[in-house]
C-alpha cells in the first residue's frame, strides 16, 4: 500500500502527523490528534460536545446567569405566561422558571458526576480483578454482577430509595448501585483479551506485582471502552435521576430539580403547558448532548462499535 502524502506544512502539524514518531510522547500526541480530527469531522458529536460544555458553564456561572432567585416565591406572579421579564414564565409559586432551570443544571451535573465517580471505579475494579485472576474469584464476582444486572434499573433504584428514604444523596447511591455492573462486564472482557498477551508476561517477568499489573498495565487498556460506555450511560443516569425526581423520590422541594419541576407542572398541563414542557425539554437536550458526545467518542475510541 502506498500512501501518497498530502502537501506537508512544516511545524506542529507535521510533527503530529509524522509516520515515524521519534518518541512515545510524539506517537501518543499524533494518535490523539488523528482522533480529534476524526471527532471534529462528526458534526453531531461536536453538537453534543457543545451541549455538555454549555451545561458545565451554566453550572459554574449559575449565580451570574440566573435573572432571579430560583427559590424566591412571589405568589402575586403565579403561573405567568412567558414574557420579557420571565422568558419561560413562572411556576405555581411565582418562581422564575428560567432561573430554576439554570440552577437545576447544577443538580443534574452533580448527580451524574457523583454516580460516575462511585460506579466507574467499582466496576473497573471488580471487572479487572475478575478477568485477571479468573477461577473462583471470576465466577463469584461475575455472579454478583449478574444478579445486579438481572434487576430492572429503575425498579431497583426505586426500591433502594424507598428503603433509604427520598433525597438526592440516596438517589445518587441508588443509581450508582444500578450503574456499575455493565462497567464490570466491559472491564472483564478487555482484561481477558489482554491478560495473556506478551507484554503482560514481560512485565510479570520483570517482577511487577499482580496489583501493579492490574493498575499499571491492564486498567489503562480498559479506559477507552469504559469512557465511551460511561458517556453513553450518563444520558441514562440523567433520565433515571429525573424519573426519581418526577416521582418525588429524588431532590426534595423546593430544590429546582428538572424532573420534579415537570411533575409540579402536571396540574396545569392543559392551560399552562410550558411549566412542564420547558424543564422536560432541558432534560431532553442535556441527555441528547451526552448521547451525541458518547456516540462520537465511540467512533473514535472504539471503532469496533459494539454495544
Amino acid at each position: 500500500m502506498n500512501i501518497s502524502s498530502t502537501t506537508e506544512k512544516p511545524g506542529l502539524k507535521q510533527w503530529l502527523t509524522s509516520d515515524t514518531p521519534q518518541s512515545r510522547w510524539q506517537a501518543k500526541c499524533g494518535r490523539a490528534w488523528l482522533g480529534w480530527l476524526k471527532f471534529t469531522e462528526n458534526r453531531l458529536a461536536m453538537i453534543g460536545l457543545s451541549i455538555v460544555l454549555a451545561l458545565i458553564l451554566v453550572t459554574i456561572f449559575a449565580p451570574l446567569l440566573a435573572p432571579y432567585d430560583p427559590l424566591a416565591a412571589d405568589l402575586t406572579n403565579r403561573i405567568q405566561s412567558p414574557s420579557a421579564e420571565h422568558w419561560f414564565g413562572t411556576d405555581q409559586l411565582g418562581r422564575d422558571i428560567l432561573s430554576r432551570l439554570i440552577y437545576g443544571a447544577q443538580y443534574t451535573l452533580m448527580i451524574v458526576a457523583l454516580v460516575v465517580i462511585t460506579a466507574a471505579p467499582v466496576g473497573l475494579l471488580v471487572g479487572t480483578a475478575a478477568g485477571f485472576f479468573g477461577g473462583w474469584i471470576d465466577a463469584t464476582l461475575m455472579r454478583i454482577t449478574d444478579i445486579f444486572l438481572a434487576f430492572p434499573k429503575l425498579i431497583l433504584a426505586l426500591a433502594f430509595v424507598s428503603a433509604l428514604g427520598p433525597g438526592i444523596e440516596n438517589a445518587v447511591l441508588a443509581i450508582a448501585l444500578t450503574a456499575w455492573p455493565p462497567y464490570a462486564r466491559i472491564a472483564r472482557a478487555e482484561t481477558i483479551t489482554v491478560r495473556r498477551s506478551d507484554y503482560i508476561e514481560a512485565a510479570r517477568l520483570q517482577g511487577v506485582s499482580n496489583m501493579g499489573l492490574i493498575l499499571g498495565h491492564i486498567t489503562p487498556m480498559c479506559i477507552s471502552s469504559l469512557v465511551v460506555r460511561v458517556t453513553l450511560d450518563m444520558a441514562g443516569m440523567i433520565l433515571i435521576a429525573a424519573g426519581l425526581g418526577f416521582l418525588g423520590l429524588g431532590a426534595q422541594p423546593p430544590m429546582p430539580e428538572w424532573g420534579a419541576m415537570v411533575s409540579e407542572g402536571r396540574q396545569f398541563l392543559l392551560e399552562q403547558w410550558w411549566v412542564s414542557t420547558v424543564p422536560g425539554l432541558a432534560i431532553f437536550i442535556v441527555s441528547l448532548g451526552f448521547n451525541l458526545l458518547g456516540d462520537g467518542l465511540r467512533d473514535v475510541l472504539d471503532p469496533r462499535g459494539g454495544d
Binding site: A150, F151, L154, W273, S287, L288
Partner: protein, 355 residues
C-alpha cells in the same frame, strides 16, 4: 449434525460434545438458580434495612410490650437473619409474598390482577417497535452516511434521550387534551369499566372474546398512545442495534460471495444479511421486551394504567413493603425468564449453536 469429514476420533468427539451440552444445560439452570437466590437476597436485605418497623405497623402504637414481643415472634423476626432469609425463600417459592397493607389482599393475588395490563402494554409496544425498528435499522445501514441514516440516527438518539414521563405528558397534552384523537388515562372509559369481565386480563383480547366492538375500539383508543410512546423507546433501541449488526454483516465475506453469484441486492440484504442479523437481534428484542415490562413504571403513572408499575409505585409511596418487594421479585423473575427464552431462540436461529 456433526462434521462430515469423519475421522477415527469422531465417536469420542461426539461423546464429549453430548456431555458438554448436558453440562452447559446444568450450568445454565444452576446459574439461573443462583441469580434468583441473589435477587431474593437483595430484596430481603432492602426489606430489612427499611426504617419502618413491621411489628409496630402490625400491632399499632398502643400495644403493650408483651403483645409486641409475641407478634414479633409470630412474624419470625426474632430469628437470626439467615434463618429469616430461609423462611423468606421458602415463602416465596410457595408463592407467598405476604399480604399487602394497602389492599389487604395477598400480594400474589394483586400481582396476578395487575400484571396482564402491563403485559398487554409492553407486548403491543414491542410489536410496534419491531415492525418499525427493524426496517428502519436496515434502511439506515444500507444508506450509511446518507440522509436516511442520519434521520434514523437522530430519531434513535432522541429516543435514547427523551424522559419518558415527559413524552407521555406531551402526548396526552397534544393528542388527548388538544386534538382529542385518543382517549385519556385508564384502560377503558369510566362508563365502560364494569361491562367487562376479565378472562385473560388482556383488555383487547377480552373485549374481542365478548364480541363487543364498541368496547374493543374504546380499549384501542386508550392503549394506543401509551403503547406508541413505549414503542418509540423500543424502536430507538431496536433500530440502532439492527443498523450496527447489519453493517457488521454487510462487511462479511459471504456478502461478497453472494454478490459474485449475481444475487440481487434486495435478496442479499433481506435474506443473507438479515438472516444472520436475526441471530443477535433476537436477544436485543427480548431485552427490550423485558425492559418495557419494567420500564413502563413511569408510563403507567402518567396514563393511570393499572399495571405492575403503578402497583409497585403506589405501594412504595405508601410504604407497603411486602407489595414492593413482591413486585420487584416478579419483575426480576420475568427478566431472568425472558433472558433464558432469548437463549433458547438463539440456539434455534443459529445452526452453529444448535447441537
Amino acid at each position: 449434525m456433526f462434521a462430515v469429514t469423519r475421522k477415527a476420533s469422531d465417536g469420542r468427539k461426539r461423546a464429549r460434545l453430548f456431555s458438554r451440552t448436558g453440562a452447559s444445560l446444568v450450568r445454565i439452570v444452576f446459574s439461573l438458580l443462583i441469580t434468583f437466590i441473589g435477587l431474593l437476597l437483595v430484596t430481603f436485605l432492602i426489606g430489612r434495612v427499611l426504617p419502618i418497623d413491621p411489628v409496630l405497623a402490625a400491632v399499632g402504637d398502643h400495644a403493650s410490650e408483651q403483645v409486641y414481643q409475641r407478634v414479633k415472634e409470630e412474624m419470625g423476626l426474632n430469628l437470626p437473619l439467615w434463618q429469616q432469609f430461609f423462611v423468606y425463600i421458602s415463602n416465596v417459592v410457595q408463592g407467598d409474598f405476604g399480604t399487602s397493607v394497602l389492599t389487604s389482599n395477598p400480594v400474589l393475588e394483586d400481582i396476578k390482577r395487575v400484571f396482564p395490563a402491563t403485559l398487554e402494554l409492553a407486548t403491543l409496544a414491542t410489536i410496534i417497535g419491531v415492525f418499525l425498528g427493524v426496517p428502519a435499522g436496515v434502511f439506515a445501514a444500507i444508506n450509511k452516511g446518507k440522509w436516511p441514516d442520519h434521520i434514523v440516527r437522530i430519531i434513535g438518539l432522541a429516543g435514547y434521550s427523551m424522559p419518558i414521563f415527559w413524552l407521555g405528558l406531551m402526548g396526552l397534552l397534544v393528542f388527548y387534551l388538544k386534538l382529542d384523537w385518543v382517549a385519556g388515562p385508564g384502560r377503558l372509559d369510566a362508563f365502560y369499566v364494569d361491562f367487562i369481565e376479565p378472562t385473560t386480563g388482556l383488555m383487547l383480547v377480552d373485549t374481542l372474546i365478548e364480541g363487543d366492538m364498541d368496547l374493543f375500539w374504546n380499549a384501542v383508543s386508550h392503549i394506543i398512545l401509551p403503547a406508541s410512546i413505549l414503542a418509540y423507546f423500543s424502536l430507538a433501541y431496536i433500530a440502532r442495534m439492527t443498523r450496527s449488526f447489519m453493517l457488521e454483516q454487510l462487511s462479511q465475506e459471504y456478502i461478497l460471495t453472494a454478490r459474485v453469484k449475481g444475487i440481487s441486492e434486495t435478496r442479499i440484504i433481506w435474506r443473507h444479511a438479515l438472516g444472520n442479523v436475526m441471530v443477535p437481534l433476537v436477544t436485543v428484542i427480548a431485552l427490550s421486551y423485558a425492559n418495557l415490562l419494567e420500564g413502563s413504571v413511569l408510563t403507567e403513572i402518567i396514563f393511570a394504567w393499572p399495571g405492575l408499575g403503578l402497583y409497585i409505585t403506589n405501594s412504595l409511596l405508601n410504604a407497603d413493603m411486602n407489595a414492593v418487594l413482591g413486585g420487584t421479585v416478579v419483575v426480576g423473575a420475568v427478566f431472568i425468564g425472558v433472558n433464558m427464552l432469548s437463549d433458547v431462540l438463539y440456539r434455534l436461529l443459529d445452526p452453529r449453536a444448535r447441537r
